[in-house]
């Protein structure tokens, strides 16, 4: 066998790129013109088993890139009904400050596990002279008994991390869905992107002992992340006081939290699936979510020493 020697087919090519001013990927802010979707009402409210004035937030959706904040809905009639087998109570919710869009029960009340909560919002959103009804209902799941929580300090892959661990009895009835919200030194992290969601798929009915549900980075690791990531992260330091609430929630609300967390900054363009609307249980074309859940709380202090 010999190497072909036909000159027309024998080529050695050397490519030299002389210089490259922008031979590099670049990211820049751009303006996108999209046809704004027609505004719809946004209803968001959670009824908990805390004895408080329960509240519902009403606002309007707006164009994705609108520079002003979403408008509040301040002329709605908001009614909450709670039902058990043979008792029905009705509560009217009103705004403390007109224009806030935050409607509260007039007196404190605690939601009850096993009871069904039905929300009705009546407002003339489309300004046609007739009020429309936007409704949702949710049955409050049973309470999970949270025995304790603790935080352990660990070293992993060069990072100092704090593991948030819980001990609790998972109810055996069915798949349960949970989320955890927390305060650090009294500051409540109440944004959905900060909620810690989990379910009992592999733990159904078990007693979980020091189950790690989340890892927080130590504040000293901030420099290891880029600014874009840091603004969405929560860090802990030794001595921080942490209070958590574990909430037993419906599958629908768990899906809603997962959708919100996945879609907050649009779908991940590299690894995400096609973008899709966040699920909702509000009727009549509105967005948002209404749910009832029970809570169980515990607190702990972020340790100084690494766990053994």
């Amino acid at each position: 066998m010999k190497i072909m020697s036909n000159p027309s087919n024998t080529t050695i090519t050397m490519l030299i790129v002389f210089f490259s001013i922008l031979f590099n990927s670049c990211t820049e802010d751009i303006t996108i013109n999209t046809n704004n979707s027609i505004p719809v009402p946004v209803v968001y409210g959670t009824i908990t088993d805390h004895y408080i004035r329960q509240e519902i937030a009403l606002s309007s959706s707006t164009g994705y890139f609108d520079q002003k904040e979403n408008e509040r809905i301040s002329d709605a009639i908001v009614t909450l009904e709670e039902d058990s087998t043979n008792i029905t109570n009705t509560y009217n919710l009103t705004q403390d400050s007109v224009g806030s869009g935050i409607y509260k029960t007039q007196q404190p009340m605690a939601g009850k596990p096993g009871w069904t909560y039905k929300l009705t919002v009546k407002t003339d959103f489309d300004l046609d002279g007739t009020a429309e009804n936007y409704e949702a209902e949710s049955k409050m799941p049973t309470r999970i008994i949270l025995d304790s929580m603790n935080i352990t300090k660990i070293k992993e892959s060069g990072y100092t991390l704090y593991s948030l661990n819980i001990s609790a009895q998972d109810p055996a009835d069915q798949t349960n869905y949970y989320f955890c919200k927390y305060t650090i030194n009294g500051t409540l992290y109440n944004k959905i992107s900060k909620y810690i969601g989990f379910d009992d798929t592999s733990l159904n009915g078990m007693y979980v002992d020091d189950l790690s549900i989340w890892l927080f980075y130590d504040k000293s690791n901030i420099s290891k992340f880029n600014d874009d990531d840091v603004k969405d992260m929560v860090f802990l330091s030794s001595g921080d006081k942490m209070y958590i609430e574990i909430c037993n929630i419906t599958k629908g609300y768990s899906d809603f939290i997962e959708d919100c967390q996945g879609q907050k900054d649009g779908s991940n363009p590299m690894f995400g699936g096609p973008p899709a609307n966040i699920s909702t249980n509000i009727s009549n074309g509105a967005r948002g979510y209404f749910t009832a859940y029970s809570t169980s709380s515990a607190n702990s202090i972020v340790p100084n020493d690494f766990s053994e």
């Binding site: 072909m4 922008l22 990927s25 999209t34 719809v40 590299m270």
Partner: protein, 507 residues
């Protein structure tokens, strides 16, 4: 023949004043080698090898994709009327993602490997009838994701294996001075093969059963037939009409994420859960040459009806998911359009322009509320222009321009706010478009007079890619303004203008 090239642009990043830029790398290379040997007047053997890779990297992360192909073929002449080609081919398309962050190394590898054996025979029965037939067998291996992390067990989404056997026959027949026919039939058997865990899904796409198959066990088979028929009617010595019908079956489908041009699209072999895609293609064209055949023109219309096409469900989970078939929905599609071409082959000025007007739609239950939506590849207008001009014996110049309507994407059209965070609202799948893509490439080639004393002939090529520096979007992403939280859009583009000089030498 051996050829190789690698871009050196990233070497200049080392000169940057920005330390982040200095640690970035971006390059491509390819290597090509061909060897052939004529054993006798009737036997010739070819060996080809190609390997190419593109890499984009920063100090802590990189991303690359590439192709490796190797083939050997043996051409044999049985008689002056019968020729055969027996070939064995290997291909490996792969992509890799890696993080080299201190103490946090992780690599993600994915590939598709094919090994196939082909036998093709051409048989000239008469001057007017040519027969071609053959068979092939392919072994496919899919590696969706292998994730390695030092100190941890590897995580692998199950590999899948398939065999594809095919036999075909085709006939080219010149019926008379006006009519020529081309027709044929291909039969393909596609078999899924173990080792595999195969999931069954209920109507909500939740897994309700799992079957395990041992290695090399054939556990599912599809047999499909692909007929085709074409006719050319010669109107006169300058013009003709052509009509074609073909039924095509595709056993491996790609489901893509429409938002980026990333090659991280996922491939799905036909299986118990995903039926092979079927297409009926109809086309009709008018072809006419002018000026003693120096200018060729054509207008073609086509329509393609598709069945069993796939796309990702809303809110599909694609990462670390070994039940990806449950994230896919199946439906129908159609594509139709018109192509116009003008081509000049001779003279100092040569080149072509082609224009395509087209539309590609999908209707898939469970996506976009079951309403038709644009396919991610839809481009309403597409233009390709290529012109070359031979200035002198030594110099020639050329220009290429491409234009295409931006491809469809799903951008948010509204937003709602909860507890101080904004969330997107979409009006439907693929209702927006990226901005239009266009690019001009220029080049000049200088061929010095051959020096008979030199053993090689050199040639210089000067080129400018994306000459007017159009920022063509590669990926659009969204973020929130750090202070106000108001959403904003960001575009990532890969290349500005790239000048290059190439020196070719032949010997």
């Amino acid at each position: 023949m051996v050829s190789g090239r690698r871009s050196y642009a990233d070497l200049f990043l080392k000169l940057s004043s920005d330390p982040d830029k200095r640690s970035e790398s971006i390059y491509f290379y390819d290597i090509n080698a061909k060897v052939s040997h004529r054993f006798s007047a009737k036997d010739k053997v070819y060996v080809n090898f190609y390997s190419g890779k593109d890499l984009f990297g920063t100090s802590s992360e990189d991303f690359s994709y590439g192709n490796t192909l190797a083939s050997t073929s043996w051409n044999h002449v049985f008689s002056k009327n019968i020729f055969s080609r027996l070939s064995i081919n290997y291909t490996n398309y792969h992509y890799e993602l890696g993080s080299s962050m201190e103490n946090s190394q992780i690599t993600w590898k994915s590939n598709i490997q094919d090994l196939d054996l082909h036998l093709d025979i051409n048989h000239h029965i008469t001057n007017k009838i040519r027969l071609n037939y053959g068979l092939s067998s392919t072994f496919h291996q899919f590696e969706p994701a292998l994730i390695k992390r030092p100190g941890y067990p590897n995580y692998r989404i199950q590999r899948s294996y398939a065999l594809e056997h095919c036999v075909y026959i085709g006939l080219d027949e010149k019926v008379n001075d006006h009519i020529s026919l081309k027709y044929g039939l291909r039969t393909t058997i596609f078999q899924n093969m173990g080792k595999a865990s195969v999931f069954s899904y209920d109507k909500n796409y939740e897994v309700n059963d799992t079957c395990y198959y041992k290695s090399r066990k054939i556990y599912h088979t599809y047999t499909r037939y692909e007929p085709r028929f074409g006719i050319v009617y010669q109107l006169d010595h300058n013009s003709s009409l052509k009509a074609n019908y073909a039924h095509n079956v595709q056993f491996i489908q790609i489901a893509n994420n429409s938002d980026s041009g990333s090659p991280l699209d996922l491939w799905f072999p036909a299986s118990k859960n995903i039926k092979p895609q079927q297409a009926n293609l109809y086309s009709f064209g008018y072809f006419r040459n002018f000026n003693q055949n120096t200018i060729e023109t054509s207008v073609e219309l086509y329509y393609k009806g598709l069945n069993n096409i796939i796309d990702f469900a809303d809110n599909a989970q694609l990462l670390f998911n070994d039940k990806l078939e449950g994230e896919v929905r199946t439906g129908k599609g159609k594509a139709y359009g018109m192509e116009i071409m003008i081509k000049k082959n001779t003279g100092r000025l040569t080149g072509f322009i082609n224009y395509t007007l087209s539309r590609t739609e999908r209707t898939i239950p469970g996506i976009n509320n079951g309403k038709a939506y644009l396919a991610p590849s839809d481009k309403t207008h597409s233009v390709n222009l290529m012109l070359s001009y031979k200035c002198s014996k030594k110099w020639s110049i050329s220009a290429g321009w491409v234009y295409a309507t931006g491809t469809p994407v799903t951008y948010p059209t509204g937003r709602f706010e909860i507890n101080g965070e904004y969330y997107p609202i979409y009006s439907g799948r693929n209702t927006s478009r990226k901005k239009d893509y266009h690019r001009l490439d220029l080049s000049a080639t200088y061929t010095p007079t051959k020096n008979p004393k030199k053993w090689y002939q050199g040639e210089w090529n000067f080129s400018l890619y994306n000459a007017y520096w159009n920022k063509n979007p590669w990926m659009i992403s969204f973020d929130q303004n750090t202070n106000s939280g108001i959403p904003k859009a960001q575009m990532t583009y890969l290349f500005g203008a790239i000048p290059s000089i190439t020196y070719n030498f032949k010997f």
